[in-house]
């Protein structure tokens, strides 16, 4: 299925690259705005991740199919328009079937249009590779993004409210035998920045050890 340019790249490698080696958030530092903004709880983070996977796959398919027709100086514009179309679809879908989540995420769903991950994959992968590799790449990158988002959101939600996915995990001080005092700061912008900073530091530590 992969065409001549894509033959040297194996699908498995591409898939795994998105999950860890080139993880968009942890290694490439792409798509920071949604990463920080929607990770106060796991549910919005998961919704955001799924929307990004959908847009990423669709835009990679379209870009890959039209890659031979693109004029170099107009290509970024074409990418953006393609992405904007699919984001509109995702936004309308969420408004219709998940109105609460759509309300909670607010403008961050339309902001997927300017999410650097999607435009980066369109430019770096889909505009150079065949359909199959592009789809695999989109899945790898999308799932890598979603997993990172969920890990970050789980840490923040646990520390801010004592719950994960709205299920109580730690007994909070308000209950009869609770001991856990929620950190309100974790649910605020400060928590987002500091948690992500420490997460990146942890990843740095792991890769440094692995290299040695």
């Amino acid at each position: 299925m992969a065409n001549n340019e894509g033959k040297t790249i194996s699908a498995q490698n591409v898939l795994l690259a998105g999950l860890w080696r080139e993880n968009p958030v942890l290694r490439l530092l792409l798509g920071m705005c949604p990463t920080l903004a929607v990770t106060a709880a796991v549910k919005p983070a998961l919704t955001m991740g799924c929307s990004v996977i959908f847009v990423l796959i669709c835009s990679n398919i379209v870009v890959s199919l039209m890659r031979n027709l693109l004029k170099p100086h107009l290509r970024i514009l074409m990418f953006t328009l393609t992405i904007a179309t699919f984001v509109t679809i995702a936004d309308l879908f969420l408004k219709a079937f998940q109105p609460d989540m759509s309300e909670a995420l607010g403008p961050y769903i339309p902001l997927i249009i300017v999410n650097c991950i999607i435009i980066c994959r369109a430019e770096a992968c889909a505009s150079k590779n065949g359909l199959f590799i592009s789809i695999v790449d989109a899945i790898g990158m999308g799932v890598g993004f979603t997993l990172t988002l969920c890990v970050l959101a789980a840490i923040r939600e646990l520390l801010a409210t004592g719950m994960i996915f709205e299920i109580p995990v730690l007994p909070t001080a308000g209950d009869s035998d609770g001991w856990f005092v929620p950190w309100a700061a974790m649910g605020m912008p400060v928590g987002a920045f500091v948690t992500l900073g420490l997460l990146l530091a942890g990843v740095n530590l792991i890769t440094r050890k692995g290299r040695r």
Partner: protein
């Protein structure tokens, strides 16, 4: 007099209380990427201020005077991103023709502004807050640019000093920048609740 008060409040609110970078997480990529040196950060801030003022005003006009009348709100996002890309292209052409030296010093940042989430974000927030007057939109857009410039310059100032500090190896680079940003937002949280 009352209009002036509303405008002034809107300006202070978008620059300090609802700063796009600190409270809405918009424009984080350039905020972390370009804030290495103060002069670069200031240049980026100026370019963003110009484009965001233009884009915010234009998208408000298109949204209220064209799309709302034709009931084409579905096309909103596509139109917004087209306007922003067009505005950036316009600024780029203008600078290249009339200020070539400035154009050279901006380099790659100019096209990058298209994908700066602060700009599309502001257009979306203006739509979300359903701002009714054109004047308020202009003030909000300009204020958003000023707020971004302020944030990125503060960050650049801190990072220039950070280079002299002894940071643990695994925290160097992005992690320490993010933690610094976190502490900065903590400081700016003190302004929360001042205005709506």
């Amino acid at each position: 007099m009352e209009t002036l008060q509303v405008l002034l409040l809107a300006f202070v609110s978008i620059v300090i209380v609802n700063n796009l970078v600190f409270t809405k997480f918009l424009g984080i990529c350039p905020y972390l990427g370009v804030s290495g040196r103060l002069d670069m950060a200031f240049g980026m801030g100026c370019a963003v201020t110009f484009v965001v003022t233009l884009a915010g005003t234009l998208t408000w006009m298109i949204n209220n005077w064209v799309l709302a009348i034709l009931h084409l709100e579905v096309m909103k996002y596509v139109c917004f991103i087209l306007v922003i890309a067009g505005a950036v292209q316009l600024v780029e052409m203008y600078l290249r023709k009339f200020f070539p030296s400035l154009y050279d010093s901006f380099g790659i940042f100019l096209p990058l502004i298209t994908t700066n989430c602060a700009i599309l974000g502001l257009c979306l927030f203006i739509d979300l807050w359903s701002i009714k007057s054109l004047l308020e939109t202009v003030v909000l857009s300009f204020g958003a640019g000023i707020g971004f410039t302020m944030a990125i310059c503060i960050m650049a100032g801190i990072r220039e000093n950070l280079e002299l500090a002894d940071v643990p190896v695994c925290l160097r680079g992005a992690p320490i920048t993010l933690i610094t940003a976190g502490l900065l937002t903590l400081a700016f949280m003190g302004f929360a609740g001042m205005i709506r």
